[in-house]
């Protein structure tokens, strides 16, 4: 009886987590824009603007470029589905989840890459030079970011002896001193670079630009309109939230519930929101002081983060 109660509670936790992440992701995007606007001396459109945009776009006609195929229409759906799957399996609120055995850290990384690939293929499918250019750049950055993210994952899982997300979070919770260990700090730096590269933030990509020389992500999705565009926008906000959430819970896991009972879950949800908002605001503030880098300096950044990843792995047995 208690077993089934736990399962029901865990399922409720997963549902709550999905609702929180999906509902909050556009708000996070709005908040980051607002932070930037205020720091740059503008009034800003308000935190709720992304949701208003989504509603507007959903009501508009979708357009498919002449000569494109089913890939173009399927891509936003696959992208959103892969991100939702990550949002469902990640231990954002509780480490007790019926979905924990479904995808570990490496599977989550592969799912993220699946979303990137879906959009890149769709960009190529449009047949425009913009689409191809964006796809080519995005894939180059994603390919070079892959070693960093896997090494950071290696460093984290080497300590716990498992790459399951719940095990990673629990390992950190039971040994709070690890938060300040060199391995965690270096892995956190590497992970932060990957977040910046994967979500197309400054200095790798400028999410607000429409200038062909500098675009990466925006160039790929240029041909989307209406509900397709809404899905793409929602998915990119979700990806940012999910990555920040993973970063928050893997490196600062405090507040994550270790049971599935309602009260700890509520606290976990609030703390999670606070952490992600803080990280998002910090990222937005950091962007204000950054200029976009030349595309061919990005490999330098990723080589640096690869080195941090490797140092993180080494530090986990150097200074054991």
């Amino acid at each position: 009886m208690t077993g089934s109660a736990v399962t029901v509670g865990a399922l409720a936790a997963v549902t709550a987590q999905l609702v929180l992440v999906v509902g909050g992701a556009p708000l996070l995007a709005g908040l980051m824009r607002q932070v930037r606007a205020r720091l740059e001396g503008r009034v800003g459109a308000g935190v709720g603007q992304p949701w208003r945009d989504l509603r507007k776009q959903l009501g508009k006609e979708a357009i498919r470029p002449d000569g494109s195929s089913w890939v173009f229409t399927a891509a936003p759906r696959v992208l959103l589905a892969s991100t939702l799957l990550i949002a469902a399996v990640a231990p954002f609120l509780s480490t007790v989840s019926p979905l924990d055995g479904v995808a570990d850290l490496f599977a989550v990384v592969a799912l993220l890459l699946l979303g990137t690939v879906a959009l890149a293929v769709a960009g190529l499918d449009t047949g425009t030079a913009f689409g191809g250019m964006g796809a080519s750049r995005e894939i180059t950055v994603a390919a070079l970011a892959e070693p960093t993210i896997l090494l950071a994952g290696f460093a984290l899982s080497a300590r716990v002896g498992s790459s399951n997300l719940a095990a990673l979070v629990e390992g950190m919770l039971t040994a709070p001193g690890q938060v300040l260990s060199p391995a965690s700090l270096l892995a956190a730096v590497a992970f932060a670079v990957v977040v910046v590269a994967e979500t197309g933030r400054l200095p790798v990509d400028n999410p607000a630009t429409h200038l062909e020389l500098t675009m990466i992500h925006e160039a790929m999705v240029l041909e989307y309109a209406g509900r397709d565009l809404a899905l793409v926008e929602l998915a990119s906000a979700l990806r940012l939230t999910v990555l920040l959430g993973l970063g928050a819970n893997l490196f600062l896991p405090w507040g994550v519930a270790t049971t599935a009972s309602p009260l700890p879950l509520l606290g976990a949800a609030m703390l999670f929101a606070v952490k992600v908002v803080a990280f998002g605001a910090a990222l937005a503030a950091f962007e204000v002081f950054m200029a976009k880098w030349r595309l061919f300096r990005v490999p330098e950044l990723l080589a640096g983060s690869f080195l941090f990843g490797l140092l993180a792995v080494s530090a986990s047995f150097f200074l054991a």
Binding site: L58, G59, E61, A62, I63, P65, G67, S68, S69, W70, R77, V78, L80, A81, L84, L85, L99, G101, V102, A103, D104, F106, A107, A110, L113, L114, V117, A120, V121, L124, T126, G127, T128, A129, G132, A135, S136, I139, A143, L144, E146, P147, L150, L151, F154, A158, S163, N164, E223, R227, A230, F296, P299, G309, L310, V313, S314, S316, F317, A320
Partner: protein, 713 residues
């Protein structure tokens, strides 16, 4: 009755019948008859392999058919895994060959390139092309020789893993090399490059065979017997030097067949130039025999070895994976790209085998078992998706006559089924969920990352090599994604970039069926890898330093590692993606209030319409990567600017040529070939054409051998 014997009987009988049919049947009936008989041979292999993996064993000695003694065959689970793999590839390729060698296709020729470059898209009407294809081209892959040799080739391939003595193995190995060489040369009248590829393949495969021969002969001489049972028994008494010599020789020999760097040079030449079903057989099935040989001799007959063997294999594997994927990511020839991708995947398998060797030498059986299982499973997965991709490339080639990605495109609308099947294969090859490549790469990564969490602190070698191996695997995975996004996105999507691509039509049903079989294998392996747990455990039983129960637990839908905390569920991930996609699509439709999707011309940057020359090509897609890895790839570029005679400021034409040569080949092989040529020139007086002199050499040689034997005896 023993199912393995029955299966191998079907293989031999089918091959004989197929060869006879191929040689004797009339041209019209030949494709169907040999295709079906080849499929039968494959089914025999599948039967024998499945029976061996289910735990059956079988052996047979046929006295007196080989010059040196009896032919010995034996099948254990390790042989069974490779029998099953090769048999399955053969089934798909056999079905596919019915349509591929049948009438009505276009195959790449030297003059195609010139013709295609001149024509604008849409200039050539479809009817014209069909007439042209029906009458103009020689159906080289359907020639009597090629059709008769195909069943023989697959049969020798299937018998190699069943060989249980040195002489049997070597004879079958040579037969396999010869038959495959004949098949590589099938289209030699159509393209000059085929002859070149055949020469490279012949030379490299013989060099490899010589290394294997030397290694096994040294081994057999030292162990005092040439049957595998005698080798196994005698291996323990060998001196360390002899063991290592044997290992290095057979590693080089089997490695050249597997296409590992730097012995890979034949692979990106021969695999593209062979007819596509043969490419699939070579790239998906034959290269794996290199891996089989390495595991059989290194881990079974020699019974494992010191740590540096593992490190050597690991290092070569890492180099192969990285170099293969880098070349694949900048390749523009679809089949060449697939060939380099084979080198990459063999590299990944070698990383698994090498790391397994390191841990086996350190006595960590749990990790060694997991990594070896990952390597074998990756061989199976690679066979499945590489078959699918090569067959898909063959369909494209047959429909358009093109292999050049820069001139393909727009096939999604014209060849919808081929496109969908290739999309799934590309997903698997890019090691993304829910493809099957992801499962084995995940296992490989799990094996590598748990290297530091064993009992006690890790040894220096492990602590230094494993993070680097993870980095290599990760970079390979990333670049592999770029490679297959390029291959699929540029080759099949957007608008056609040339006239032949614009008039492509879907391939005949038998070819689609062949591809669908391979895709079904991919899907099965992707969703239910858990079913492989028990057979893999039996495969590991063959290796004395690795065996340690099952590396994977059969826990329903989840893939659970044994002795290591790790689990993942490919089936639930696939279901989650499917449900998520469907729910998202339904939600978007509901929120969009059912508004129809409008097809509109794309924005042309102010121009009125985009033509296909403005599209991104494979070359431009890979340009950032070419630039990032400039120091490794060293691309060659030349620009020739021709001004008008009146003024040098007015430019008449600009010619730009960009090429990424295989740098390892360019650096390593010319000195070697030059030395060989010099040696040949130097020894020319020895062979002056006089028959008497040649006979005298033989006579003197025989006398010398007799004298030496007498003196030493």
């Amino acid at each position: 009755m023993n199912l393995i014997a029955a299966g191998l009987g079907v293989v031999v009988a089918g091959a004989a019948a197929g060869a006879a049919t191929g040689a004797l049947a009339p041209a019209r009936a030949r494709p169907l008859a040999t295709g079906l008989l080849t499929t039968t041979v494959g089914l025999g292999g599948v039967l024998a392999g499945a029976a061996a993996l289910a735990g059956q064993a079988w052996s047979m000695t046929v006295p007196g058919i080989l010059p040196l003694g009896a032919a010995t065959l034996a099948v254990d689970p390790l042989s069974g895994a490779f029998l099953l793999l090769i048999g399955a590839v053969t089934v798909a390729a056999g079905v596919y060959s019915v349509g591929y060698t049948g009438p009505g296709g276009r195959h790449a020729t030297d003059d195609d390139a010139a013709a295609g470059a001149a024509a604008a898209p849409g200039a050539e009407p479809a009817g014209q092309r069909a007439v042209d294809a029906g009458t103009g081209h020689v159906e080289a892959a359907a020639s009597r020789t090629a059709q008769a040799v195909l069943p023989l080739f697959v049969a020798t391939m299937l018998l190699v893993p069943a060989a249980a003595s040195v002489s049997t193995l070597l004879v079958l190995w040579e037969l396999m090399a010869l038959t495959s060489l004949v098949l590589v040369l099938a289209e030699h009248r159509l393209r000059r490059s085929v002859r070149d590829a055949g020469l490279w393949y012949g030379a490299m495969t013989h060099a490899g065979a010589v290394a294997i021969l030397l290694g096994l002969v040294v081994f057999a001489a030292a162990a005092g017997g040439e049957s595998f049972a005698a080798l196994r028994a005698g291996a323990a008494d060998l001196s360390r030097g002899t063991r290592s010599l044997v290992f290095v020789l057979i590693f080089a020999g089997f490695g050249s067949k597997a296409g590992m760097v730097p012995l890979h040079v034949w692979l990106p030449r021969a695999h593209p130039e062979a007819p596509s079903h043969v490419s699939a057989l070579m790239s998906a099935a034959m290269v794996n025999l290199g891996l089989y040989g390495l595991i059989r001799v290194g881990f079974d007959l020699l019974g494992g070895g010191p740590r540096w063997w593992g490190l050597l294999v690991l290092a070569v594997g890492g180099l192969s994976a990285l170099y293969g994927v880098l070349q694949a990511s900048v390749a523009t020839d679809l089949k060449r790209l697939l060939g380099y991708s084979t080198t990459e995947n063999v590299g990944l398998m070698l990383i698994g085998v090498g790391a397994a060797g390191v841990f086996a030498a350190e006595g960590n059986r749990a990790l060694a078992g997991l990594l070896m299982a990952a390597a074998v499973l990756h061989a199976v997965n690679h066979a499945a998706f590489k078959t699918l991709l090569f067959l898909g490339a063959g369909s494209v080639l047959r429909a358009t006559g093109l292999r050049d990605l820069d001139r393909l495109g727009g096939l999604a609308a014209r060849m919808p089924i081929t496109t969908a099947l290739v999309a799934f294969g590309a997903l698997a090859a890019a090691a993304l969920p829910p493809g099957n490549g992801f499962v084995s790469e995940w296992l490989l990564l799990q094996g590598l990352i748990h290297s530091l969490t064993g009992t006690g602190p890790p040894t220096v070698v492990v602590a230094v090599s494993m993070p680097l191996a993870v980095g290599v695997v990760a970079l390979t995975a990333g670049l592999g994604v770029a490679t297959f996004v390029k291959a699929f996105g540029v080759g099949f999507l957007a608008r056609p970039r040339s006239a032949p691509a614009a008039v492509a039509v879907e391939s005949p049903p038998s070819m689609r069926a062949g591809m669908a079989l391979a895709a079904a294998a991919c899907l099965g392996l992707a969703l239910a890898p858990v079913a492989a747990a028990a057979p893999l455990a039996r495969v590991l039983q063959v290796m004395p330093t690795v065996r340690d129960g099952a590396p994977l637990a059969d826990s329903g839908v989840r893939l659970q590692l044994v002795g290591i905390a790790g689990s993942m569920s490919p089936l639930l991930i696939a279901i989650g993606l499917l449900v998520g996609t469907a729910a998202t699509a339904a939600l978007a439709r509901w929120a969009g209030r059912g508004l129809p999707r409008r097809v509109a011309p794309v924005w042309g940057c102010g121009g009125t319409r985009l033509d296909s020359r403005m599209e991104y090509t494979a070359t431009s897609f890979a340009e950032p990567l070419t630039r990032v890895f400039d120091d490794v790839l060293r691309p060659e570029q030349d620009v020739v600017v021709t001004p008008y005679t009146e003024s040098r400021y007015l430019i008449e034409s600009v010619r730009f040529r960009h090429r990424v040569p295989d740098r390892l080949e360019a650096r390593l092989y010319p000195p070697l070939l030059g030395a060989a040529a010099r040696w040949g020139r130097w020894s020319r007086p020895v062979a002056n054409g006089s028959v008497h002199r040649y006979l005298a050499y033989g006579f003197v040689g025989m006398l010398a051998v007799l004298v030496v034997v007498r003196l030493s005896g």
